[in-house]
């Protein structure tokens, strides 16, 4: 689709706005509607729009697939780390009160960090979904089937 000038121009305009809005939703999640999940989906959607217009290869040059995969795992780990930090500082799992001196700031810090983990994971997972399905189609077109099946239907050795 790289020859569609209108799409390219509009995408250049819209994609940064998408991402900005994603960040807005992300960092206002602790006291207003929003949070990591919605922000992650917005962020992932921006990247998907980019891939739809510029192609998967360009999209994966921006962020390699191995990095997306690892980010998905690291986001979960960040969440768990904050949870365990609560235990390490003498509270319970996901206890934010021990993270800071004042309870309000502690809750905010905890939720922002946890939601950051959620956001990173969700964005990465949405991108991974898309990448996996798109690449599968490309593989099928070239006829490179990687699956080796073991059929076990026969009752007799042949």
């Amino acid at each position: 689709m790289s020859d569609h000038a209108i799409l390219r121009v509009v995408a250049r305009l819209v994609i940064p706005l998408f991402m900005l809005f994603g960040l807005y939703v992300q960092f206002h999640g602790e006291y207003s509607p929003g949070g990591g999940f919605q922000a992650g989906v917005l962020f992932g959607a921006a990247w998907i729009l980019f891939v739809l217009i510029y192609g998967l290869d360009t999209g994966l040059r921006v962020i390699p697939e191995a990095l997306i995969y690892n980010l998905a795992c690291l986001g979960v780990l960040l969440y768990c780390l904050i949870g365990v930090l609560g235990v390490a500082l003498g509270g319970h799992f996901l206890n934010f009160d021990v993270l800071w001196t004042t309870p309000k700031a502690a809750q905010q810090a905890g939720i922002i960090l946890v939601e950051l983990g959620v956001g990173v994971t969700v964005a990465a997972v949405v991108m991974l979904f898309f990448t996996c399905f798109v690449r599968r189609r490309a593989l099928n077109k070239t006829g490179a089937d990687t699956d080796q099946w073991r059929e076990d239907n026969h009752d007799h050795d042949s």
């Binding site: 006291y31 207003s32 999940f37 996996c132 399905f133 599968r136 699956d147 099946w149």
Partner: protein, 122 residues
């Protein structure tokens, strides 16, 4: 009449649930099954969310001049359930893609021919 109208959210839920469930059972095509599953799950989400609405209640954000809030808990629960639903759909679609590659079809009746031992058990 008033009871029917006042419970219209439940009627919507039931209608959606039946549509989804019918798609799930009646169609042999896996993609249609996945769609049916999605509609079926969505009906339950709507049931939860409509149960959290408090008549006259505002959005559950603490601010001045508002004393009645809708119940935010069902929304949070359903956000979780939606994530679960997305994951389920993604896994189902991934399986459907690989079934298409492995068997060349995603129609249930044609797949049963490829797999008589299972079809006998169904």
């Amino acid at each position: 009449m008033t009871t029917i109208l006042s419970l219209f959210n439940y009627w919507a839920v039931i209608a959606l649930m039946m549509v989804g469930y019918y798609c799930l059972i009646a169609h042999g095509n896996m993609i249609k099954k996945i769609m049916g599953l999605g509609i079926f799950q969505t009906s339950v989400f709507i049931m939860f969310i409509s149960a959290g609405k408090v008549l006259g209640g505002s959005t559950p954000i603490l601010r001045e001049g508002v004393t009645e809030y809708s119940n935010p808990l069902p929304h949070v629960l359903i956000l979780t359930a939606i994530v679960v639903g997305i994951a389920t759909t993604a896994v189902a679609l991934a399986l459907a893609v690989r079934i298409q590659e492995a068997f060349g079809t995603i129609e249930d009746d044609q797949l049963s021919e490829a797999d008589p031992e299972d079809a006998a058990g169904q």
